[in-house]
Structures are given as C-alpha cells and as structure tokens.
Amino acid sequence: MTTLEIPTTTYAARLDAAHDSVAPDTPGVVVVGPGGFAYTTPRRLAEGPSWVSAATGRRLHGGDVRPVRNRVAARYGVACVQLVDPTPGDPARARHGLLRHHLLRAHTKVLASTVELAVADLGERTSAGGPLLGRQLVQAGLADAMLLVEETEGLLDGGHDVQPAVFTRLVRGGRALLRLLGGASFLIDGPGGAVLTAEQVGTLYLAAHHDH
C-alpha cells in the first residue's frame, strides 16, 4: 500500500525561499503579516531573522517574539510567531509581490504532490473488483486538480498579477482533491496536513482584506 506522506521539509524550505525573495540582499528575512504574525522555519527563528513589515515595507527591530502553537504546521517544519511592539526602521526596498508569487507556487507544488500520491493510492485501492482509479468520478476529481495545478502554474510562469482569488481556488481545489483520499486526508502526516499548512500560511499572507 502506498505511504500517503508528503516530505515534511519541502514546503518549509519554499516558505523561507519566499521570504528571501522579498529582499534578496538581506539575509534571513521574515515578512511580518497582519497582526504582527509570521510563519517561517524554526531554524530561521533561531538564527535571528531580519523582520520586514508586509504592510509598510519597513524593517522592524526589537519587539517581543511570541511563539504561536500550531501542531500541524510544526509537523511540516513551519513555526508561527507573533512579533509584538517592534520599532519601525528604514524601508527595506522589499518586493512583496514576490512573496505572494512564491507562496502560491509552494501551495501549488503541495497540490501537485498530492495528485501524485492520490493517483498511486487510488490505483492500489479497489472497489467492486477494480481499482478506484478506474471510477469516472475519481478520474474527474483528479482531472480537476490537475487542471488547477496547470492553470496556476501558467499564471505564475506568465508573470500575471496574482490576485487573492488564486489562493481561494487553491484552497477549494485542494479540499476537493483531498476528499478522494477519504480518512487518509485527515492525518497530520498525510497530504491533508501539508495542504492545511499551506492554507494557514496563505490565509495570513495571501487572503483578501475586507474593509472593516
């Protein structure tokens, strides 16, 4: 039987690469999102990150770094913290559009890996004497996920302006894909955990802002 596990460090490495893309000249950048929250790797936190505000583009100094417990993200090498009362510094000449771009790319890669695992798993699971992969409903579900991955990669590769709607589509498409895996989708160390981690990170950095 296929082991339904996604490598636990891949997404985390892409997350830190996304932070790096914002200000490549500054080592150890971590973009601080709304509310002072940030997702990064424990390693980057240990090394003492260079905080950059997503809202103002300024560097942030000092402040209290409070850990935010997140069991699922931790399994994928991702830590969450809240930076409280930092002092704004000089502008970081950051390119925040690249953060969105890289995070959407990382999320899309998680879905692509999940499609691969699902094809392998559903090819081994059987129903009525044949593999589940032979069922039209299953094939259609996988095709939808493949199209979503392809379309999103096309948007990212083509240099298009990526809107919050792209993230929304990845969330909904990811959930539809996970449904094909049944109970396995609810395991932390399965694709469901990886997809949820990408959803949580994306909600902070990629979700639409409403006017309150």
Partner: protein, 385 residues
C-alpha cells in the same frame, strides 16, 4: 411532511441550546488534551447524548426536561439534540462515552442477550465503544472488507486491520465487521471486549476532533466466542452486511444534524466577531444561514421517516452530503470575513476549521453519497430502481 417540532421536542430543543454553551470550553481543552474528556462526564450534554442512544428498556434513568421524558431510540429527538449540542462543540459529543454507532449495530442485529450484555454496562460505568468497519484499502464498503473471522477450536479468531476508528484505542467494547466467507453473505459483525490478547489499538495523528481519538485497530488472532457474533441465530442475509447498512442509515441523520449545528455556530461566531458587515457580506451570511435552515428541515424529515419505519436512503445521503459541506462552507466564509488573522486570533474558529473536515469521510465519503443521490433522482424520474 411537516417538520414543525411538537411541544415536547421544542422544550428539548430549547434545553439543548442552554446546555450546549457548557461545551465550548471543554471542546478547546480536548483539542489540547484528548484524554481530558473524563473531566466532563457529568455535563448534562454528555449524559443526554448518551441517553439518546440507549434503548428505554436498558436505561437506568430517563433524561427529563421539565414534565417531558426523553427515552432513547427516537431519531428525531436525536437529531434535535445533536444539532443543538454541536453548536457548543461536536468534539465533546463524539469523544464522550456511550453506545455510539456500535449501539446502533447491536440494536439492529443483536439477540436480546447480546443487547443486554452490551447496553447494561452503560448504567454501571462510563463506557466507550467503537464501530470498526473502515479499512484503508476499502473505505467503509462493507461488502469488500478483508478483516477475517477464522474458525478456531472454541469459536473464531479475528485477523486484520481497521483504520480511522473513532475512540478505538480508548474503548472497552466495540463491534467489528469482518469476513467469515466470500461474498456479501459472508460478512459478520462481532462484539469484542478490549483490551484483550490479539488486540492492539494505536492513536492516529489527526488534524482535528482530537478528543475522538481516531485510531488504527489491529486484530491478530483475537479470540471471538461464537455467541459474540451479532445475530448468529439469524439467516446470513439478515445479519452482518445488512447490519452495517442499517447502522449507517440510522446514524447518518445525527451526523448531518451535528454538521448543521456547527455551521450555525460558525455563522453566529462570524456575526459576533464582525460587528460591521458590507451589504455583500451580509448577503453571503444570510444565504448560508438560509441553506442551513433548509437542510435542517430535510434532516428532520429524514429522521421522521426513519422513526416511522420508512427509511429514506437517498434523502439520508442527500442531507449527510449537504450538511457536511455547509459546515465546511461556513468555516471558509468565516475565515474570509475575519481576514488574514482569522485562524490566529480566533482559536475556536481555528479548531472548528480543522474539525469539520472530518465530517466529510465519517459514515461514508461524499462521493458515495453523491452517487446515492443520483440513484434516487433517477428512480424518481422513472429511470431506475
């Protein structure tokens, strides 16, 4: 068919709204410490959900609300209870001791002696149970399961692995579906007590509903006495496979009701947390609330039909599918309305966002229900049976 609740159920409904509030905090505690359920066994909600699943003749004490008595057994009462209590927290209900799905299987298939043996223990001590049908390779398709019941010198031995079994590693007793012979008539349901030699239960690391302690159960030669085969005195066509179908049909309306209670809770939470809403956002909340209300009416209709001995298989699949999707929709809408920090500044919403994803695969995955809905529509259109 009317779904207006009679007076006694309106009283039960109002009572459940009151006692559900006490579940919110335990729900958060269980998310951190799944074993903490033992601290909450005296909560009225915990006692009520258990009472709803115990046949009156085995109940030590009938649950009362004012002048009204609520013996277990009515599906309509149960959906009212599970709906409103889930507004407090579904995880506490599912983590609590009680007959759960196993009780429904024992009721559907068990002899009087088997039922006595199973249900009488609930009056003596808190008892957790499991319903072991699902296998990873087969899902909950009873006709295809591979766990084997093998003849032995003094009865049978059980061999195989069950996965995604609620309270499996905590339970003292449970029902295991297994194969004694090829084909659907070779399926049996056996009652087992744990711990026992040849039984191993292991917790699975799960995204939400942590108190439910979803488990993998391994049976490696567990001894099964012949009189622990449920319905052993019935014809093969009237036991194992039939029991699995009947049990799931009985319990699905409760799961649907629970999903709707959670959906309502999430919508209420979003409204409270977002004091000002744009017209469009008001409309989005209103639309979802309307869909929840329609689904609640349908769940109650399905429950009334079940109580009347006219189970509506297609309608049950429809409400299970609809209700579980509505709960998920509600969490996505709430997170959207509360913005980028929704999952970080609202721990209850974060927990519920994870919890509701379990409803999708509990008691039959969504796609299985979609196919059943289609078959029902086809039958109604005169195109199939």
């Amino acid at each position: 068919m009317t779904t207006e609740l009679p007076d006694h159920l309106r009283a039960l409904d109002a009572h459940c709204v009151e006692i559900a509030r006490e579940l919110r905090e335990p729900g958060m505690v269980l998310d951190e410490d799944p074993d903490a359920i033992t601290r909450y066994l005296d909560l009225p909600a915990v006692r009520l959900q258990e009472a709803m699943l115990i046949p009156p003749r085995f109940a030590g004490e009938t649950y009362r609300v004012g002048p009204h008595a609520f013996p277990g057994g009515s599906c309509l009462s149960r959906v009212v209870v599970m709906d409103r209590l889930a507004h407090g927290d579904p995880g506490v209900l599912l983590a609590a001791p009680g007959p759960s799905l196993a009780g429904a299987a024992v009721q559907a298939l068990g002899s009087e002696r088997q039922q006595s043996r199973f249900f009488e223990r609930f009056t003596k001590e808190p008892t957790w149970t499991f319903f072991a049908l699902t296998e990873h390779g087969k899902g909950s398709a009873a006709a295809e399961l591979e766990t084997r019941l093998v003849p032995a010198e003094h009865g049978y031995t059980l061999h195989g692995t069950k996965k995604y079994i609620g309270t499996g590693a905590r339970a003292q007793t449970g029902v295991v579906f297994c194969r004694r012979a090829p084909g659907p008539l070779g399926i049996e349901a056996v009652l087992v007590d744990t711990p026992a030699p040849g039984f191993h239960g292991e917790l699975l690391p799960i995204l939400g509903l942590r108190g439910v302690r979803i488990s993998e159960l391994v049976f490696d030669g567990l001894a099964v006495d012949p009189d622990m085969v449920l319905g052993f005195d019935r014809r093969p066509s009237r036991r194992g496979f039939l029991g699995a179908r009947q049990t799931l049909a009985t319990y699905r309306p409760s799961l649907a009701a629970m999903s709707l209670g959670v959906a309502d809770a999430v919508l209420d939470y979003a409204r409270a947390a977002r004091t000002t809403l744009s017209t469009v956002d008001e409309q989005r909340l209103g639309d979802l609330a309307g869909r929840v209300a329609v689904a609640r009416r349908r769940v109650r209709e399905v429950a009334v039909a079940l109580d009347a001995g006219r189970p509506d298989r297609h309608g049950t699949s429809a409400v299970k599918l609809t209700a579980t999707r509505l709960a998920e929709e509600a969490t996505l809408l709430a997170v959207d309305l509360l913005g980028p920090t929704a999952l970080l500044e609202h721990p209850w919403l974060n927990k519920t966002y994870r919890d509701v994803r379990a409803f999708e695969f509990m008691e039959g995955a969504g796609d299985v229900h979609r196919l059943t809905v289609f078959q029902g529509g086809l039958r109604d259109a005169g195109g199939g049976t």
